[in-house]
């Protein structure tokens, strides 16, 4: 026994090492991701929060760099107009509509996000339910229906802009052939928005469909059989087995879909380009134009970024809380 003792003592400091042993490879595995994300997203994010309280723009930014290098070159004199802390000024100006059209863009964003997500989900669900049945050729249908996902967003934007082209677009040609007048799609706020929404629905349905199809396949078949034994009709089975069974998947994809659509840049930017006259800008595109077209107004961009981020965070936590109340935690 006495020979064992030193061994025990030797192992005692090993305890700390073991905690490290247990965690070092976990950290090694996440470190590349964490470093890149921290450098390129988290750092700019905090920087942005700070900048949103200043009046930093292209004109007064030079000075901030200069003061950082501290006494570098002689030509680097203190800029009398250097950026300074302005408190909530940016937020006030943005929210009162003094700069940009926050509330117009906000309304557009809500309309855009809600309609896109609602149609993504319902069409995706409908297709998933159909494809979840067994019939000949369903895997071919599945492949073909996912195709829009594989098309780069800006290509689909162009393709649809091409189709919606008021002069020679196929959609107006068809309308003409049917004896109707072509629509000047991009001359009116809601028709232009319609074109953009259609494009985005086309683009986004496959993701929802695939995710929901997987969710459907994960629902145990005997639940359906039990419901059938209980005399449930097809609709009742859908209501009481399919929808609850899809809850975990739909909770996730709706949250992600909302976030993604809210920040979906290329479709609005390329399809409507804000036409007519900025009437169809959503927050991201509007903010991008307001802040970066012409003079670059970093503080303004940051203010919008922070506003968008906080809205989505509020949404995400409300959403999670609502789900949790229903007993669904993810």
């Amino acid at each position: 026994m006495s020979e064992e003792h030193p061994a025990v003592e030797y192992r005692q400091p090993g305890r700390l090492r073991r905690t490290f042993d247990k965690n070092w490879y976990a950290w090694a595995m996440v470190v590349p991701t964490v470093v890149v994300l921290a450098a390129l997203i988290i750092y700019p994010l905090f920087q942005g929060v700070f900048q949103s309280f200043t009046n930093l723009d292209e004109g007064n930014k030079q000075e901030t760099i200069c003061t950082k290098t501290l006494g570098g070159g002689e030509e680097c004199k203190p800029n009398p107009k250097k950026s300074e802390f302005v408190g909530l000024q940016n937020y006030k100006e943005v929210l009162t509509g003094e700069r940009g059209h926050f509330w117009l863009w906000f309304t557009n964003t809500i309309v855009w996000t809600v309609s896109c997500v609602v149609f993504h989900f319902s069409i995706g669900l409908g297709l998933a339910v159909m494809l979840n049945r067994r019939f000949k050729g369903r895997s071919l249908y599945r492949v073909l229906l996912i195709v829009p996902w594989a098309v780069p967003a800006f290509v689909s934007a162009f393709a649809w802009k091409f189709l919606f082209n008021p002069r020679f677009g196929l959609i107006n040609s068809v309308l003409n052939d049917l004896g109707m007048d072509g629509v000047q799609w991009f001359n009116h706020r809601w028709t232009a928005m319609f074109a953009a929404v259609v494009t985005n629905i086309w683009l986004g349905v496959p993701f929802m469909m695939v995710a929901l199809l997987g969710g459907l396949q994960a629902i145990p078949q005997d639940l359906y059989e039990a419901a059938e034994m209980d005399g449930a009709t097809a609709w009742q089975r859908f209501r009481n087995v399919t929808l609850p069974g899809l809850r975990p998947v739909s909770a996730t994809v709706i949250l992600l879909g909302t976030i993604w659509t809210f920040n979906m840049f290329p479709i609005i930017f390329f399809v409507t380009g804000g036409e007519p006259a900025g009437q169809t800008e959503i927050l991201v595109t509007g903010a991008f134009r307001a802040a970066f077209e012409g003079r670059r107004q970093y503080a303004l961009a940051a203010t919008y970024g922070v506003l968008i981020l906080s809205m989505l965070m509020v949404f995400a936590s409300v959403y999670r809380r609502a789900l949790r109340r229903q007993g669904e935690v993810f």
């Binding site: 942005g48 976030i259 968008i308």
Partner: protein, 301 residues
Amino acid sequence: MATVVVPEQAPTGADRGVGRGRGRGREDRSLLASVGLHATLLACVFIALFPVVWVLLSSFKPQYAIQSTKIQLFVDPSFDNYRHVLMDTSFPRWFLNSVIVAAFTMVIGISMSATAGYAMSRFNFPGRRGLMWVFLVTQMFPVAILIVPIYTIMSKLHLIDTLPSLVIAYCTVAVPFCAWMMRGYFDTIPKELDEAAALDGLGPFGTFWRVVLPLARPGLAVTAFYTFLTAWGEVAYAIAFISSDKKLTMGAGLQQFVPQFNPQWDLLTPGAVIIMIPAAIVFFFAQKHLVAGLTAGGTKG
């Protein structure tokens, strides 16, 4: 379209027996319901494919016919537009750049998200929960707003106007979702396999490489698909970071064909078609795994 549906009926009817064996599709599907199902799906397939097909068809038309109000599938079909794009513009160069950027994004993105996803799935290290949240938050901050700060960082690293800047930027866009999805997929691989591997003498990295990764193919396929598409179709970063014509990617280069108010459709359409081909190839290899791969990620939050 309806005529195409009819011959499909017989196999569908016969298929019901199979469906019954699997306990699926047990309800007797009437002929009418079957026609309805196929008609709906065909209509959806039509909508899904049409814009792509129309761009493809248009790419073979001469310029005057592209901008014609008449609906014609073929007008003097020729490869002139393609020749023009490939010979007279920097398009081939852009294509090569895109391939390089997308390939590196894919490889780096997969390795980052697979390792991070595995760590989050298997190890209870301090900071794990916070990391999941960070991943979600990164999805919320608008990319369009991030362009400028990232530009500043890239220029500090002297990476502006280089392809690596794009690879890094695209990884930040794609990795959070992919890592989160991979974690879901790894969660479906029984932990006992890791334990068996530990008893068989493998360390954590060996287990990951020799036991877990070979089993995570569907998850990896989705990640590959997603990272590739992120890099392949991105425009905003490419325009912002790349200034020399020779280093542009296709998405960014194509914007040169879209001067304000007068898009050159005869160059855009063949360009779009060429862009879609590699995407289609990657899609073809990944599609089999998409459902399985994405589900695991979706259900496990």
